[in-house]
């Protein structure tokens, strides 16, 4: 009983930090991860599982120059 109460108190202490991390790190990160597999058709976002965005920086050599990943047109 004491252990359970201690556990609950422990969870109570870390709950604000967990909620904060969940709301401002985990959820945005998951959304960002999902969006990285999406594509743009014109100005419309199409959700999917495309790896084009990950292949894009590798095209035309370095992504640091005036390469396709900077200047690509849709």
């Amino acid at each position: 009983m004491t252990i359970l109460r201690g556990d609950k108190r422990g969870w109570g202490f870390i709950a604000p930090a967990l909620l904060w991390t969940l709301a401002f790190f985990v959820v945005p990160f998951l959304v960002m991860g999902a969006m990285s597999f999406a594509t743009l058709e014109g100005r419309t976002l199409v959700w999917g599982l495309s790896l084009d965005n990950y292949a894009e920086p590798g095209k035309s050599g370095s992504c640091g120059g005036r390469s396709s990943c900077r200047l690509r047109s849709r």
């Binding site: 990285s36 965005n53 120059g65």
Partner: protein
């Protein structure tokens, strides 16, 4: 590009910060150490936008560096230093040497002087004492500072934007281009995920190497 700049900045910063921290910890009299440390971290008190613009003025074609080199007869005409990778690295190193100096200094002052005395008593030279006693004991501080430098440097947008110009884009600059000009959120998200993956790998490498589970 980002990775090259980040690794260069981290390596140069460690090489410059370690001797500086060493001098402050062991060569500066104790009553002056606080003041010297304060002077070392003084640039922290200004915004890094201001610091970057200050470096831009220093490295400009009419800046103090070019004027000094021309005045000394080493150059006949000004060279382009601003808006180059060199300028970006210089701006970063200036900032991160301060950070690393503090972390390494904190490690050095915690070392008991008896370690050095024991090594010397056993016949070790000053270099051997440093190589086999001091350096291994201060490596946790060095690696922690280097990891912080790596993370802050690879994700920084302002310094490369001001000092590097748009000749070579780092990953944060590319992300900003996708978000600001092209509204290409999927590509920006993919670049951000790649950036996070690199930082995670750097963390795993440093954590594994430091064996944080033993601390």
């Amino acid at each position: 590009m980002s990775l090259e700049i980040t690794l260069t900045v981290t390596a140069v910063s460690v090489v410059l910060a370690y001797p500086l921290a060493w001098i402050i910890a062991f060569r500066v009299p104790q009553r002056w150490q606080r003041l010297v440390l304060l002077l070392t971290i003084l640039p922290f008190w200004t915004s890094y936008v201001v610091r970057s613009y200050a470096w831009l003025l220093v490295l400009a074609r009419e800046g103090i560096v070019n004027q000094t080199l021309i005045g000394m007869g080493l150059l006949s005409e000004p060279v382009t230093l601003a808006n180059t990778r060199f300028a970006t690295v210089t701006g970063f190193v200036h900032f991160f040497v301060m950070l690393l100096t503090v972390t390494i200094y904190a490690n050095l002052v915690q070392l008991s002087p008896s370690y050095r005395r024991a090594a010397m008593d056993l016949g070790a030279s000053a270099f051997q004492t440093f190589r086999h006693v001091i350096l291994p004991l201060t490596l946790p501080g060095v690696v922690t500072g280097a990891f912080l430098t790596f993370v802050l440097c690879i994700g920084d947008y302002v310094t490369p934007q001001i000092l590097g110009g748009n000749n070579e884009l780092t990953v944060p600059q590319l992300i900003m281009v996708q978000l600001g000009r092209r509204a290409d959120f999927p590509l920006a998200a993919a670049l951000a995920i790649v950036l996070m993956a690199i930082v995670t790998l750097a963390y795993l490498a440093s954590a594994r190497w430091l064996r944080l589970d033993r601390l």
